[in-house]
Amino acid sequence: MTIKAIQDEIIDEFSMFEDWEERYQYMIDLGKTLPLIDQQYKTEDNLIKGCQSKVWVHAEMKDDKVVFTADSDAIITKGIIAILLRVFSNQKPQDIIDADTTFIDDIGLKEHLSPTRANGLVSMIKQLKMYAIAYQTQLQ
């Protein structure tokens, strides 16, 4: 699936929720159930320190696609990571570079991606793109 198609799918899913509680409960459950990163990659090198919550990101190339794994110590942050990885992981580097994140606004989670929120998510998206740029450079 293309990044755009996945984003549309997520927007569709979120449109079913009636209020913030359902939306957040969904993210919390996502955050609780998904094992996102291998313990061995939860290293200082992979750590993005937010003021509020910590985020770990690991990337590797599988065939022509970048596979991301990530984690956070805060569960809502983790739930949002799960959504972001669904969009960005398993995609070609150039597609990741070109992708935008406006779908986050559409699903009512904009505040979590504000640079002032300091939860590590903005830096995480930057990091995902940096990995994609690095892999793209290797490919060329």
Partner: protein, 404 residues
């Protein structure tokens, strides 16, 4: 008569909604809200007498200067400083601490010792670390105990004839602990050291008397005590302010300038380079008037009731742990739900219109001490109510259900 419902009417922001719910504002330790009386002063300034101060010959400038200097006198009177020129306007507490730390660069030498406490905000740690880098002075730390109190017996051991300076907050921003600054000051003076007290958190709760305390420097921010952001003050004893070199160079702080030599202005202007926050300074004075009209004794009594009520109600929630259980503390409750990250709790509370702070509160050493990433911090002001505390408690219970 202290009537919270009447007081709440002074604060327009308290009647707004956040995320569709009535705002419950419990982030007062970060910044307090502003009463209409202070907002009016700000509007009046820009509507009627906005002008640059101290040098203009025209009437507007004179009016603005008079109001600004009257504000300085109000602050002097409030903190009971001996002279108005011992009050230096700053942009806030951080600026004030940097002003003093910078001044000590020329007074310290390698091997001198300066003492901080484990309970400090980063703004009362980092400027002094920078001072140590510049001078070779050594930073010593008064430790804290599990309750969040300073261990004064350890402080006694740190003091020596090498001690030059001690800087401690009056009240901890992260935990609300009221530190025994009277004895901290006396003991420092006994070894000939100067003392700076960070009064940022104390100023909305306690009326500090700088002469009675015999403190050398006392720093505060207006925005913690119903004033605007971007303004604050350093109180410094005249003899110390004369001893310290200026912090910033520029207009206003000079007596005479030639390319060969510049002589500095007298106090307080020596430390007030450039056009200050004139409106802010005047509004700071108005905020002090407002708080004094309510009365600090009334404020302390009422806030203590809120603290006791909030502590009791939150303690009833199973798995909730309160950090900072000092015998003497102000209306700050720092807590966590077992196994749940503070960011998650804060996020859910925000969705319910309840504003708390989460994170390390710019006091990472305290969080490291407790081995936690941060806390949820609810800090109450005199315009908060028990009903609001009930709303928060319900919010925390809901967060617990959603996140467990």
């Amino acid at each position: 008569m202290f009537n919270v419902e009447t007081i709440r009417k002074d604060f327009p922001i308290l009647s707004r909604k956040v995320n569709g719910k009535p705002l419950v504002y419990f982030d007062n330790a970060a910044t307090s809200q502003t009463p209409q009386q202070v907002i009016d002063v700000i509007v009046d300034y820009y509507s009627n007498y906005n002008a640059n101060i101290h040098r203009g010959v025209h009437s507007l400038s004179q009016e603005a200067t008079d109001k600004y200097e009257q504000a300085r006198q109000k602050i002097q009177k409030h903190f009971n400083a001996k002279f108005a020129h011992e009050i230096i306007f700053t942009s806030g507490t951080t600026h004030g601490i940097n002003l003093v730390a910078n001044g000590f660069s020329s007074l310290l030498k390698k091997g001198d010792e300066i003492i901080v406490s484990a309970l400090e905000h980063h703004s009362n740690i980092v400027p002094w670390q920078m001072l140590c880098e510049r001078t070779g002075a050594i930073l010593k730390v008064i430790p804290m105990n599990q309750e969040g109190e300073l261990v004064i017996s350890e402080y006694d051991k740190l003091l020596s004839n090498k001690t030059r300076l001690v800087f401690v907050n009056h009240i901890s921003n992260a935990l609300g602990t009221i530190n025994p600054i009277e004895s901290i000051i006396t003991k420092a003076h006994n070894v000939g050291a100067a003392v700076l007290i960070d009064g940022a958190q104390a100023s909305p709760h306690i009326k500090a008397d700088v002469q009675k305390l015999d403190v050398d420097f006392y720093v505060v921010s207006a925005h913690k005590m119903c004033g605007p952001t971007g303004v604050g003050m350093v109180y410094g004893k005249e003899e110390w302010l004369n001893k310290l070199p200026p912090y910033q160079g520029g207009g206003e702080m000079i007596a005479e300038v030639t390319f060969e030599k510049t002589t500095y202005a007298t106090l307080p202007h020596k430390f007030e380079a450039g056009t200050p926050n004139i409106c802010g300074g005047i509004a700071f004075g108005a905020a002090i008037d407002y708080m004094n009209a309510i009365g600090f004794d009334n404020i302390a009594k009422y806030e203590h009731e809120l603290l006791e009520y909030g502590t009791q109600k939150l303690s009833e929630i199973e798995g909730l742990k309160i950090y900072g259980t000092a015998k003497h503390k102000t209306s700050v409750i720092s807590f966590n739900l077992e196994g749940i990250h503070p960011y998650d709790v804060g996020t859910i509370l925000d969705k319910m219109g309840i504003a708390v702070r989460t994170g390390h509160h710019c006091a990472q050493p305290i969080m490291d001490f407790y081995k936690i990433p941060g806390t949820v911090r609810a800090s109450f002001a005199f315009y908060n109510t028990k009903q609001e505390i009930d709303a928060m408690v319900e919010g925390v219970k809901k967060a617990k259900i959603m996140l467990s």
